[in-house]
């Protein structure tokens, strides 16, 4: 560990390269057990792995699933509001357009960024991280790690749309004058958010550094 740290701040040596496992919960370094059984952290009992198992594959699967869900989330209505017998379908994009045309462009910008661009950005970010890891890229490791932290952090906030939707549906029930029902789109939107959150979870950021120096055994 100390040898690795002293060697370079660039992290050319990783714990895995030194044959050590780091605990993801309490960061304790421990030597791996010789047996093939699952190993646990001697200090906190966390399941120990050199790298999260099948991280890249799982992340890819979740990213792809989220990408698939992203299109219906944007195209299908998230809110079906019925005003005096006339029902109106609102997609996220039509809401943005409405906000923009009705003059409140800052609000439109917020919705556009939070609901459209951030999910898309997360998917793009994850895809880039995965590709760069698979290609064994050594560049921008710091930036990529920072990006990963951002993706992991921002994930939960994307659920705001779903909350707003749920609240609106629950509050605006003035049938028969006006009522609001959730559209199919919101399911897909929630799916996008949840899947990207899981994808961020399954992605092992340590993989970014694995290829920083020497070619490493693939753990993907």
């Amino acid at each position: 560990m100390s040898a690795a740290m002293s060697k370079s701040i660039n992290g050319t040596m990783t714990a895995a390269q030194m044959g050590l496992m780091s605990c993801e919960a309490c960061q304790l370094l421990s030597r791996p057990s010789s047996s093939d059984e699952a190993t646990y952290c001697p200090r906190c009992g966390e399941h120990l792995e050199f790298r999260r198992s099948a991280s890249i594959q799982k992340t890819w699967a979740l990213v792809i699933a989220a990408t698939i869900c992203y299109f219906p989330a944007m195209l299908l209505p998230v809110l079906v509001s019925t005003t005096l017998g006339t029902s109106e379908d609102d997609t996220i994009l039509s809401g943005v357009a409405y906000l923009y045309t009705s003059g409140s462009w800052p609000l439109a910008l917020i919705v556009l960024v939070a609901s459209v661009m951030i999910p898309l950005g997360k998917l793009a970010a994850l895809a880039w991280l995965l590709l760069s890891v698979q290609r064994g890229s050594v560049k921008n490791s710091h930036d990529r790690t920072r990006l990963y932290r951002l993706v992991a952090f921002i994930g939960r906030w994307s659920m705001l749309d779903v909350f707003v939707d749920t609240f609106t549906v629950a509050l605006v029930q003035l049938s028969p004058l006006m009522s609001v029902a959730p559209g199919t789109g919101v399911l897909f939107f929630a799916a996008v958010v949840v899947l990207t959150m899981f994808a961020a979870e399954t992605f092992d950021p340590r993989l970014i550094w694995d290829s920083a120096d020497s070619p490493t055994p693939s753990h993907g």
């Binding site: 699967a61 897909f188 399954t202 693939s218």
Partner: protein, 558 residues
């Protein structure tokens, strides 16, 4: 522990990390997502009907994504886009039609914008006040599929209901409008379906739709007339007010009926064209196939004589005034009113009783020109047939032309070869009264009123003298005659007193208790009373039934 070096010398088993490239369960998630997404997409595409284009003049209240197309109040489509045509003159409304209604999009389907309409004949589309406008739809009968339509400007008044259309040719629309009611004997049986200007712009085609049970009353002989508003005719016949209903009074409408004098040939074919008449009277007027024209030259004002004013014979209408104008007489350099009248022999015949009608119809109508002139000449020369202007209504001063036989009419000289023939006139009506009045006034004017006045004065003064003489005479009488008169009266009173006494004696003799005379007298009086009563009864009865003097008393029925 001794085994350790030995054990250490043993080679360690190589841990070969399995390349865990086996298919992870997690891939089920994207597969599932893809399946659901594809499923939804497929369902959307499958449920998507055709996209149609409707051309409107304006997109009032039509909004993309909000305006529905409704058929029988069922949503069959949604407007997806509203855009202008290439030349910016029209509005193209694109609408997605639901899959299940795709079969309705045929060539003669109709679209129109439903918006609140408040007219005198009703309020429609009120629901759109809250829900917004929508596009109404009416299914067509054609089998030819079509995806672009031309929207109607007005909602079709005729929905899918049995009935027939007829065309009315009008010179102008008046107060008629699409949706106005059509009346048959005051009952609303249809509607004005459309009003179109003919291509040459000279007339209008008004399409009326008569509902099914009533369309059979429309025959080739049917007359349509404008029942709009109140039909007030102020003519020589008096004031005539006629309206079909309160709604038509305000909004207008069309009425039809068949004249009674025509034999009906059964229901007319669809789209049969009819003229539309100004009012009921004009519409129902009997067509007058034979007409004779005459001209009358009056010597009086014809103010109040209008075209269409009746020409009467003894008060019965036999013709009408067709023109009123002036005639210049070069010889005398004067103008005279010239009134052209049309006389309808059929009208005259129609007034006769049945047998005479048959007898005279042929003889009157079949006469040749010469015979007709002869007959007319006899009437004019021998019987004194003359025309005169009479006042039909003193209120309005409407005049009409009256023919009458004036026995001692002055002889006239008439050129019988003229066409139209001139008929002689006599002053009549107001003119007559005026003439008489003015002759009276002239006479009054001619009286030597001043001379009469002075004579009257003389007479009065002599009368005064006479009265004075009479006064003297009376005074003389007073002095001489009155004392004598008083004495005479005294004597008379004495005489009456004696007479009174004699009568009293007689009374007791005649009507005393024992005398038979009172009884007889009473009986006689009773008889007389009874007789008097009978006479009263008889007189009463006679008063009520004077005819019994001739016919005798018939038995009275209760």
């Amino acid at each position: 522990m001794a085994d350790e070096p030995l054990l250490d010398s043993l080679p360690q088993a190589v841990v070969v990390r399995k390349r865990r490239m086996r298919f992870s369960v997690i891939w089920l998630i994207p597969i599932l997502a893809a399946l659901v997404a594809v499923g939804i997409a497929v369902q959307r595409i499958r449920s998507q009907g055709p996209v149609i284009t409707i051309e409107f003049k304006s997109a009032s209240g039509i909004e993309a994504g909000k305006t529905f197309i409704k058929y029988k109040d069922v949503r069959i489509g949604l407007v997806s886009a509203v855009e202008l045509s290439e030349d910016y003159s029209k509005v193209l409304v694109k609408a997605k039609i639901a899959k299940h209604s795709a079969g309705l999009m045929v060539a003669d389907a109709k679209f129109w914008v439903v918006e609140p309409r408040i007219s005198l004949s009703g309020v429609s589309g009120l629901s759109t006040l809250l829900s917004g406008n929508y596009i109404g739809f009416q299914a067509g009968k054609s089998a030819e599929e079509q995806l672009s339509f031309r929207g109607l400007d007005e909602p079709p008044t005729i929905k899918d209901q049995p009935g027939r259309r007829f065309i009315l040719k009008a010179r102008e629309l008046g107060s008629l409008g699409v949706g106005d009611p059509v009346y048959y004997r005051g009952l609303q049986v249809g509607q004005v379906a459309a009003t179109n200007l003919q291509p040459d712009g000279r007339a209008l085609d008004i399409t009326v739709f008569i509902d099914a049970p009533y369309d059979k009353y429309v025959t080739a002989e049917t007359r349509f007339w404008n029942a709009s508003g109140v039909d007030v005719t102020v003519g020589a016949d008096g004031v005539n007010v006629r309206t079909e209903s309160l709604a038509s009074l305000l909004a207008g409408g069309v009425a039809f009926d068949s004249p009674d004098y025509l034999t009906l040939t059964g229901p007319a074919a669809e789209n049969h064209a009819y003229p539309i008449y100004r009012n009921r009277v004009v519409a129902m007027k009997q067509p007058d196939p034979i007409e004779r024209r005459f001209v009358l030259y009056f010597n009086e004002s014809v103010r109040g004589l209008s075209v269409g004013a009746p020409v009467t014979l003894y008060g019965l209408r036999v013709g009408e005034v067709t023109a009123v104008g002036l005639h210049y007489e070069p010889s005398t350099k004067t103008f005279r009113p010239r009134v052209l009248i049309t006389f309808f022999p059929d009208m005259l015949i129609a007034r006769m009783n049945a047998r005479q009608q048959v007898d005279n119809a042929k003889s009157l109508q079949g006469l040749d020109a010469a015979a007709r002139i002869k007959l007319l000449r006899q009437m004019v020369d021998e019987r004194g047939l003359r025309a005169q202007l009479k006042t039909g209504s003193y209120l309005t001063g409407e005049l009409y032309v009256a023919f009458e036989y004036v026995p001692n009419a002055p002889k006239v000289k008439i050129d019988w070869t003229m066409d139209p023939m001139e008929l002689p006139v006599v002053p009549g009506g107001f003119a007559n009264i005026e003439a008489k009045l003015s002759s009276i006034l002239t006479k009054v004017d001619n009286m030597p009123l001043n001379a009469i006045g002075s004579e009257v004065k003389d007479v009065l003064s002599s009368l005064n003298q006479t009265l004075k003489d009479a006064d003297v005479l009376v005074k003389r009488l007073d002095a001489k005659l009155v004392p004598d008169l008083a004495k005479t009266l005294e004597d008379m009173r004495a005489a009456i007193g004696s007479a009174d006494r004699v009568l009293k004696n007689t009374d007791s003799t005649l009507f005393g208790k024992d005398s038979p005379a009172p009884q007889d007298l009473r009986d006689t009086l009773q008889e007389v009373t009874r007789a008097a009563r009978s006479v009263r009864v008889l007189v009463d009865y006679l008063e009520r039934h004077p005819e019994i003097l001739i016919r005798g008393k018939t038995e009275e029925k209760p």
